[in-house]
Amino acid sequence: MKAVFIAALLSLPSCLALTPQQQLSQLASAGGGLIKLNADTFGLLTSPKRTWSASIQFTALDPRRRCNPCKEFNPSWGTVAKAWANAPPHARQDHFFATLDFDDAGGVFQKLGLNSAPLVFNYPPTEGDRKPSSGNTSPTKYDFSDGFEARPLADYLSKFTPVPIPYKDPIDWASWITIVIGVLGSLLCLRFIAPIVQNKWFWAAGTVITSLVMTSGYMFTRIRGSPYNGGDGSWIAGGYQNQFGQEVQVVAFIYGLLSFAFLMLILVVPYQTSPQRQRIQVYLWTGVTMIVYSVLVSLFRVKNRGYPFKLFL
């Protein structure tokens, strides 16, 4: 960062001779595609007569500000800005990436009435041929609903840049290596795994566990990103069309236990050779069915208040 300032200072005398756009491109190339703003350069970048557009990150990276989202988001911003530095030179001069830290220019935050960070604003050009046809030149805010990742950010910002941002997702080496090692490992151990893979009960377990987990609403928690539990110790989410992650486990376990009781009655009990032992098993598994089923129904009554039936509980 020091280098940036030195570069900025060094460029100051020459600024007098340069147009604002050239100054900005110098600042940008000095910062590796990203301009670190202060109050003055912010004014320069967002001057009301601008033929360029700008994407500005408002952030507070100083540890004293304790802005964790800022720290989470900053690397994504940096990679997208760096990607823009590889754009064709003529396009690079028409759009700038900049970061404004609260501690560098708190006044700007006040002036714009911002009281949260991080924020990303896009300033469209007010003059020139890239001026928006609607005539609306007020900045637009980036919506963080897609998270802090770089990919959605780059996709969104590409709509405002003269050419799409040449952003490429970094190759996820870790997962590739894991996959390769996994495949190679299983190929090497094929001799030992083969009896397991060829055993139908291995597949039966897989099938049953899959269907139990799916019918317990696992995909719901995955898609909706439900929390594991309520935070305050409660593990049942209120409402009929809602559930927590822990409910998947409990419900799948209940279903599994009931299925198991049925299977014991069908598969194991008839093969008992001792009448006494068989009778006790029959009563045991029937009792398990009745009690666990009652628990399940009472659990369902919690989720669906209007449900009129109940068993022993």
Partner: protein, 775 residues
């Protein structure tokens, strides 16, 4: 052999067989009766009316088919839908449902039974549910036996997961599709078992019917190849498989291409490539088998094996290459979103916005399947025990369908049949085991005090003995249960172990327990059907304080108002949910409807609804809109109204006009979605907000009104409208219709004209003299 209870011995086997077959017929007809009867709640509680949204289009199309004939229907261009674009209905519809009811209608009229086409449509789904029960019976019979089949038929007849889509009046494609699904699967299993080209052809014919009836045919298109592939990988290739698959695929694919809406998709889209690939693979494998029987050389066989594998790999690469080059269309968004679950929300908000495309939480599963949801895995395990070719089908089906049902509420429908089949297998095996009267020979056990055929009158053993037995029993299951389980499941060779149940009480306990679960299931299904799934949602019901039913009929009131009071060519704009209903009941042209084929057009409506009056007015005028219809539930607490759907309108509009519509602008700075004083300016100025709350406060005598859906107070200053006029508001304010004003005859913009009319011009000009005075 000793028996647990006396069985008559003087009956000839023929009598037993005949009685059993008679009982089966009686049971099946009773099941059909129950299946139809339990779907009539909607007709009894309300009336014989077409439900919901899509059925209204199907009904309208069926009326065209019945009154004008098939060719008119086939060439029907509907100029009133998607105004001003129109819709080629014949080419963009799955005609199976309409043709089915058209045939029934004409058949009944040929018999001089003058049945109204509406009643045919209303009763079609219950009628077909009886056929579904029969098809499920046939299917399950192939899995186990007739008794399991009867149980499965009873389950599918009343299970809420299927009733939810097939109550009387729910005239949708699914009404006939589940029957076709089950029957196609039955024919496939039969063809596979017998290696019969005849049944393969039947499967293909019913597959064609399915393709003509429901977009979900892709499920069959991929399930059967998946089954064939699994059999192939398990080394179970046989000429039976070859004959069944080849006859099904060749005839079925050619037939399905005759449906105009499907056309050449079977050879050009990824959804169908699996079937084609397996078809090719089977040819290669069959060829290799043939050559092998004629060539003896070991080396040559090895070479052949290598060639087959190479051709397979080359074929797979050819698919990838063609997809890459764009010759084969990649997965369509609707199917792709099943795998990449975040895809729809990001790229196709229209699909994500539909409530039946949401993921399923566990209470829905329990509500729709009740105790079947946990007997179903037991049935799947029993399929593994035997593992014939057809059992592999059930296993694959259960895995695939339970994943799909978890991702989308709507696909619960495809899971339900396999759950019924597997549960029926489990329960009937259980009942078979515990009703079977034969008792196994008792083991000569020293510490076993009770005789083998201990009747209920036998005195209990002494205290200490029973304690000992209890202790042994307590440790026995935990210690030996798994061992027994493994022994029971894996013992194949050797002499069969003696098997059976001792005593009468063990039998009674299990049978009684199972029967009470079944009875509970019946109560559950009846309750769910009558309370949750029988609402037509065109007519709503609430309860009066004394518990009697109060019918809320705002929708029909408003649609008939439109029909009676507006010119026939006046265009009505509403959110797409209500397009089919307006077309069906009010018979007026609409901008968008539930056939969501044109995203831009829908986004246009979304933009008009979510922008301010000044921005929306030119859009409305350009589309010749005369009336705007909104659904507002704030007065009586109807939560499915347009304000709750509003964010989807914003999102869809934002997808097309990201510069003009931005979702965050509709939230408060704290990120809340509010409609009261704290609502954002954009929200308050949006057309939707203004139309919904226009004159709402007047109902409360000038006090700020309370929105009963959002539980918020609306602002004291209600919204005003300059470009629209309130035309009609239904009794409970659910439907509000606004007329779009024509341009001002004097050429002013309507806002200033309005202010002039209200005399506000003078008020506004008042400060001016004062300012002059100061100067």
């Amino acid at each position: 052999m000793s028996t647990a209870y006396p069985i008559p011995s003087d009956i000839s086997p023929a009598t037993v067989k005949n009685t059993a077959s008679l009982l089966r017929i009686v049971a099946l007809s009773l099941i059909s009766g129950a299946a139809i009867a339990s779907r009539l709640f909607a007709v009894i509680n309300f009336e014989s009316v077409i439900h919901e949204f899509d059925p209204w289009f199907n009904y309208r199309a069926t009326r065209v088919l019945a009154s004008k004939g098939f060719y008119e229907f086939w060439n029907w261009f509907d100029p009133t839908a998607w105004y001003p674009l129109g819709r080629v209905v014949g080419g963009t519809v799955y005609p199976g449902l309409m043709v089915t009811s058209g045939i029934i209608y004409n058949f009944l009229h040929a018999l001089n039974l003058p049945v109204d086409i509406r009643n045919v449509c209303v009763m079609l789904a219950p009628g077909f549910s009886a056929l579904t029960a029969w098809a499920t019976y046939m299917f399950t019979k192939e899995m186990k036996d007739e008794s399991a089949g009867l149980l499965a038929a009873a389950f599918i007849g009343i299970v809420p997961g299927y009733i939810s889509r097939s109550v009387a009046g729910s005239y949708d494609n699914e009404a006939i599709a589940i029957f076709l699904l089950m029957f196609t699967f039955y024919c496939w299993i039969k063809a596979l078992k017998q290696g019969s080209a005849l049944f393969g052809t039947f499967a293909a014919v019913f597959y064609f019917y399915m393709v003509a009836a429901w977009g979900g045919y892709a499920f069959i298109t991929n399930m059967i190849p998946l089954h064939a592939l699994a059999l192939l990988l398990m080394g179970r290739f046989s000429s039976r498989l070859y004959v069944a698959y080849t006859s099904w695929y060749a005839i079925g694919t050619l037939a399905s291409m005759q449906v105009p809406f499907v056309g050449f998709q079977p050879v050009s889209t990824s959804e169908h490539m699996g079937a084609l690939g397996v078809f090719g693979l089977l040819q290669i494998v069959a060829f290799a088998q043939l050559v092998r029987t004629h060539v003896s050389s070991q080396q040559f066989q090895r070479l052949l094996y290598g060639v087959v594998v190479a051709i397979g790999i080359l074929g797979a690469f050819a698919f990838v290459f063609l997809t890459y080059k764009g010759k084969i269309a990649p997965w369509t968004g609707r199917f792709y979103s099943l795998w990449d679950t975040g895809y729809a929300k990001k790229y196709i908000p229209i699909i994500a916005s539909v409530s039946e495309h949401q993921p399923t939480a566990w209470p829905s599963f329990f509500m729709d399947l009740q105790f079947l949801v946990f007997t179903f895995p037991a049935g799947v395990v029993l399929c593994f025990r035997e593992l014939r070719d057809e059992h592999i089908f059930v296993i694959l089906y259960s895995v695939v369908a339970s994943y799909f049902a978890g991702v989308m509420v709507r696909l619960m429908l495809t899971l339900t049949p396999v759950v019924c089949v597997a549960s029926a297998v489990a329960l009937s095996t259980l009942l078979d085991t515990f009703i079977d009267p034969t008792e196994p020979p008792a083991e000569e056990d020293a510490d076993d005090g009770v005789s083998a055929n201990g009747s209920s009158s036998t005195a209990p053993p002494s205290q200490s003995a029973s304690k000992k037995a209890k202790k042994a029993a307590a440790s026995a299951p935990t210690k030996t249960a798994l061992g027994d389980f493994v022994a029971a499941t894996s013992s194949k060779g050797g002499s069969p172990r003696p098997k059976g149940i001792f005593g009468l009480d063990s039998r009674l306990v299990v049978v009684f327990n199972t029967l009470s679960m079944l009875v509970f299931f019946v109560f559950h299904c009846t309750w769910v059907t009558s309370n949750a799934y029988s609402s037509p949602s065109v007519v709503l019901a609430s309860q009066n304080p004394d518990g009697s039913q109060h019918i809320i009929d705002d929708f029909r009131e408003a649609y008939y108002w439109l029909r009676q009071n507006t010119p026939e060519d006046s265009v009505v704009m509403s959110w797409w949910d209500y397009g089919y209903q307006i077309a069906g009941m009010a018979d007026r042209p609409t901008l968008v409807d539930n056939n969501t084929w044109n995203n831009t057009h829908i986004a246009t409506v979304g933009k008009a609804m979510s922008s301010s009056e000044e921005v929306a007015y030119p859009i409305l005028r350009k589309h010749d809109v005369d009336y705007v219809l909104v659904i507002f539930g704030g007065l009586i607490g109807y939560s499915g109204d347009d304000i709750n759907k509003f964010l989807w309108m914003v999102r869809i509009a934002q997808g097309v006009w990201p510069d003009e519509i931005q979702e965050p602008n509709y939230f408060t700075p704290q990120g809340e979605y509010r409609i009261d004083d704290r609502a954002s300016k954009t929200m308050k100025e949006s057309l939707m907000y203004k139309m919904s709350y226009y004159r709402f406060n007047e109902l409360f005598g000038g006090n700020p009104g309370v929105d009963r859906v959002r539980q918020q107070q609306v602002p004291k200053e209600g919204p005003t409208l300059d470009y629209l006029d309130e035309a009609f508001t239904s009794e409970n304010w659910i439907v509000r219709i606004f007329q779009v004003k024509k341009e001002d005859p004097l050429g002013r913009d309507l806002k200033s004209a309005n202010q002039f009319a209200q005399g506000k011009k003078r008020k506004r000009s008042k400060p001016a003299p004062r300012r002059r005075a100061i100067v």
